[in-house]
């Protein structure tokens, strides 16, 4: 606890602002259902009747309360972003660490594969993946998690590989090899614990951008299926109302923007703290 307090005092101001924004978002996402006045699918008001005390952000074309939908959408976005990033880091780290440790032709093949994926813009890659998955799978939240992972895994993999390459030449890895330990065992016991710093930073930074990726896919209609109130999808649904009831798309827009800004400030600070502490440990 004392250490946490010390970290808080040392942390840069941007990190603290980010942490506060993120804390608000998390609280809303976790506890929002308690005070959402209405269900996110319920038809409760007169469509497009504007802001009122009953409907803080107004009512959309389908007579649903926008405030309730935005609140409910929070946990969907955060859940998808975090689990997608987690899967991406998991896959990328496994491939990257293994190929960095083994080297040789396997390393070449994996790296060229990563390069190929990295050369495709992430939105195009996401659209491609959704299209390939077909109409049955499209709209499934699991597909979205998979798409985020597919976009991030090669990027994380590159970082993991270069970290593993530095560790692989250390004498303690040689000692493990001299015990005839298997690849999995060496990667898990010797290499992964010593690469945890860069991998955590990577997770934090990627998680910060994941809501943008999910929102973009949702906006283009490749996100979750209606009527789930994912923010990107809500912006798309309500975009023709921009002149009549702008709050209908401003509300999810502002929610998404603050979440991304908060996440980025926070993860940037985390990355710096991890970087600083690892430097400190070595010194």
């Amino acid at each position: 606890m004392e250490r946490a307090a010390a970290y808080w005092r040392q942390a840069p101001g941007a990190f603290r602002i980010g942490a506060v924004i993120l804390a608000i978002h998390l609280t809303l996402a976790l506890l929002g259902w308690i005070w959402t006045p209405y269900d996110y699918t319920a038809r409760v008001g007169i469509p497009l009747s504007g802001m009122s005390w009953e409907h803080l952000f107004g009512v959309d074309q389908n007579a649903r309360d926008i405030f309730s939908r935005v609140l409910y959408g929070g946990h969907i976005v955060i859940l998808l972003a975090v689990s997608g990033t987690l899967l991406g880091v998991l896959v990328g780290a496994t491939l990257g660490l293994t190929s960095g440790y083994l080297g040789g032709w396997l390393d070449e093949v994996v790296m060229r594969l990563f390069d190929a994926f990295n050369s495709i813009p992430f939105l195009v890659l996401g659209l491609l993946a959704s299209a390939v998955a077909g109409p049955v799978a499209s709209g499934n939240p699991l597909l979205l998690v998979g798409v985020v992972a597919l976009v991030y895994a090669p990027r994380v993999g590159r970082i993991a590989r270069s970290a593993a390459q530095n560790i692989a030449t250390q004498d303690y890895v040689l000692i493990a090899r001299l015990r005839r330990e298997g690849v999995g065992s060496v990667v898990r016991r010797e290499i992964l614990p010593n690469c945890s710093g860069p991998l955590l930073v990577e997770f934090a930074l990627r998680a910060g951008y994941a809501p943008v990726l999910i929102g973009s896919l949702g906006f283009l209609g490749f996100g979750v299926r209606a009527p789930l109130p994912e923010w990107g999808r809500m912006i798309a649904e309500n975009r023709n109302l921009i002149f009549t009831t702008p709050e209908a798309l401003l509300a999810p827009g502002i929610a998404l923007a603050t979440l991304v800004v908060g996440l980025n400030l926070f993860t940037d600070g985390v990355a710096r703290l991890i970087g600083r502490s690892s430097v400190h440990e070595n010194g």
């Binding site: 000692i175 493990a176 090899r177 001299l178 015990r179 005839r180 614990p193 010593n194």
Partner: protein, 698 residues
């Protein structure tokens, strides 16, 4: 030394450090690194500053150069250079002095020289910055002159080379030339020979001595190696935990060390005749995080009494030029030494052969597929047709300078590197070339210990985990059972069982190396491959680990392949010695035979280069020869050998001579000649006993 006394008599000293206190700002607090340090450097004098890693000697030398680290805070005192206080001088003035009146020779010339710039241009830069030359022919002449002064061959062509095209010794000569360029009054040398081979180190020391005689500049020689200072310094200051504990003229310091730390330091140095101090060697280590109040050495001091933890002690004069910071200095007795290998029981020869290496040729895989397709040339062999044996429970040393292929041989035995040719037999059966082809129980029988203890332990694993892992892998024991064995293994290396919970960053270098040894021992090996296991350690720590290895040698039946460049340690520990040069086995035999005539010319060269060796003072000038590389089948030492008989050394394989003492020497010279050369060298040298009496030997 007479010359320096003449120079130093009277007048204000060139450098006067008075009551200097320095602290570094770390983790929001000030950590003191120098405490009330006072010392003088007179014009033309070579002062040695010696201490173990982290004692603050480098911080002092950097201050002397006028570098002010952003985290450094001066607590007290001043450094006067020719009357100016370097600590208060404006930066502009300091820049004018540094490189001009105060020169610096760094430890590692490879990183000190700019790799992208020709060496001549780097010297030119030093000269023009201080306005000593304008450019053109005059500048060029000056650089050539400097290169000639530091003994670089063919200076005119050399100045157009890049640093990577020069050898380590040549690079260090370039940095010395750079330091000399502006004709400084003071040269600060920070471990200038530490990374170099002994033969190169000897040449650099000779060069520094001749430069002092020629230019009469003063030097501050900072090092951890007392043996080197015995060769070059007029006076020595000993530093411990930021305190100067003793300052004395070199002879007096070695003959009558008055501080217990100095005495322990001298007693801990492995001596080339294999002898060791009977008592007074250093124990424990300095924990920089917990420097005790009062005298910093008191927890490790055999003479400490109840006043020592209370009273701070600073240098005070006890004789002319001799100052010591110890209240009990009168109780410090002179060192006495045992008889080295003579005191060691000779072990019964050849019990049972454990490892046989025959005609081993090793090369690193350069082009891979390209070589197989004939598109690229094969890399030259690192080791050529090496053969030797290790008997059960025997310690065999592989000796040689860097690049001689000794570590490569160990890698081949361990299975990390596939031999190109030749065979390795273990317990009579051929050993599989690759580690992955060897059965687990065989893998456990050969254990490797690396040079650098910092890199050989996983920083994210507790000591207990590191030690338990081999037990789990080799013997399939569970964690609870492993726990007992771990405690036993820790006891074996003289560490208490609560070390199992610690992490590597909580340990000192010596403790880490002991853990690495314990990890190798839990596998219950028959053969330990020890690759330079002492060379990364401080002198006092080295002595402790050496004690541990000696105990293993006498109490267990494990055999060792002990790889080292340190002849003194080898003489102490090994039963047999193999001398390697550029991948060729030059000589092998029992310790007593290798360290007595007839010597192989290379072994003799090594022995003549080691500081403190009885053969040290003989000067047999190597015959001047043209730079010619020997053919692969010729003798690898050809071209560097002072006694080389003729041209056949370059292109014919040297014949093998065997003496009655079981010594095998590969040389074109007949045995009688080698015997004569060895005896002559010993006659020319003052005997070791006389040397010690004169105080020239550590």
């Amino acid at each position: 030394m007479a010359q320096s006394e003449a120079l130093s008599s009277g007048g204000e000293p060139l450098v006067a450090i008075r009551d200097l206190g320095l602290a570094y700002h770390q983790n929001q607090q000030l950590n003191d690194v120098l405490h009330h340090v006072s010392m003088d450097i007179k014009a033309g004098e070579i002062v040695g500053l010696v201490g173990e890693s982290g004692c603050g000697k480098s911080s002092l030398s950097l201050l002397l150069l006028g570098f002010r680290h952003p985290a450094a805070r001066i607590r007290s005192g001043e450094i006067r250079f020719k009357g100016q206080d370097l600590l208060t001088l404006p930066n502009r003035e300091i820049t004018r002095l540094r490189g001009n009146k105060i020169g610096f020779v760094p430890q590692n010339p490879t990183t000190a020289l700019n790799p992208g710039m020709r060496v001549g241009a780097q010297i030119a830069e030093a000269l023009t910055v201080h306005g000593k030359a304008r450019g053109g022919e005059a500048l060029r002449r000056r650089i050539v002159e400097l290169f000639e002064n530091v003994g670089l061959p063919e200076p005119r062509t050399l100045l157009r080379r890049y640093p990577h095209e020069l050898s380590g010794g040549q690079q260090q000569r370039v940095t010395i030339a750079m330091a000399l360029a502006c004709g400084p009054d003071l040269l600060v040398l920070d471990e200038p020979t530490t990374g170099l081979d002994v033969t190169t180190q000897e040449q650099i020391i000779l060069l520094l001595k001749s430069l002092r005689a020629q230019y009469g500049m003063a030097m501050l020689y900072v090092t951890h190696d007392l043996g080197v200072l015995a060769e070059i310094a007029d006076r020595i200051s000993v530093m411990y935990a930021g305190h100067l504990v003793e300052a004395a003229p070199t002879e007096a310091l070695f003959a009558y060390p008055r501080h217990p730390y100095t005495r322990g330091l001298i007693g801990s140095i492995p001596r080339i005749d294999g002898s060791r101090a009977r008592e007074g060697r250093l124990t424990g280590y300095l924990d920089r995080r917990e420097i005790p109040p009062g005298c910093p050495f008191q927890p490790r001091c055999p003479l400490a009494d109840e006043h020592c933890p209370v009273e701070s002690q600073y240098l005070s004069g006890i004789a002319e030029n001799h100052a010591v910071a110890c209240r009990n200095w009168q109780e410090v007795t002179p060192l006495s030494f045992d008889d080295g290998e003579l005191s060691r029981p000779e072990r019964a020869a050849a019990s049972e052969s454990l490892l046989e290496v025959s005609n081993l040729t090793l090369r690193y895989d350069g082009g891979g597929l390209m070589v197989r397709l004939g598109l690229a040339a094969e890399l030259p062999a690192v080791v050529r047709e090496a053969s030797f044996e290790i008997d059960a429970a025997e310690v065999v040393a592989l000796v040689g300078e860097s690049g001689s292929g000794k570590s490569t041989i160990a890698r081949a035995i361990s299975g990390l590197l596939e031999p190109a040719e030749g065979e390795i037999r273990f317990h009579g059966a051929p050993l599989q070339k690759k580690i992955d082809d060897r059965p687990k129980q065989l893998v456990s029988k050969i254990q490797f210990i690396f040079q650098n203890p910092d890199a050989s332990l996983n920083p994210r694993q507790s000591v207990g985990r590191s030690l338990a892992r081999p037990i789990e892998v080799f013997f399939g024991r569970g964690r609870s059972e492993a726990g007992e064995l771990v405690a036993k293994a820790l006891e074996e290396v003289m560490l208490s069982s609560d070390y199992a919970r610690r992490y590597p960053d909580q340990l000192s270098g010596g403790e880490r190396q002991r853990i690495a040894i314990a990890r190798a021992l839990v596998a219950e090996p028959d053969l330990l491959l020890c690759d330079e296991v002492l060379s990364a350690l401080d002198v006092s720590v080295q002595a402790n680990v050496l004690d541990l290895l000696e105990r293993l040698r006498s109490e267990t039946s494990v055999a060792m392949l002990f790889i080292s460049h340190d002849l003194a340690v080898v003489r102490r520990l090994a039963d047999r010695v193999c001398v390697l040069y550029h991948g060729q086995m030059m000589e092998q035999g029992r310790v007593a035979a290798v360290f007595a005539p007839p010597y192989h010319p290379y072994t003799l060269t090594l022995l003549m280069s080691v500081p403190g060796s009885p053969l040290r003072k003989t000067t047999i000038e190597p015959a001047a020869r043209e730079e010619r590389k020997p053919e692969p089948q010729g003798c690898a030492f050809a071209g560097r050998c002072p006694w080389q008989p003729d041209e056949r050394c370059y292109d014919q394989p040297p014949p093998l001579h065997r003496t009655e003492g079981g010594l095998a020497i590969r040389c074109h010279l007949p045995l009688d000649d080698l015997m004569r050369i060895g005896l002559e060298a010993e006659e020319n040298a003052p005997s070791a006993a006389q040397e010690r009496k004169a105080g020239n030997l550590p």
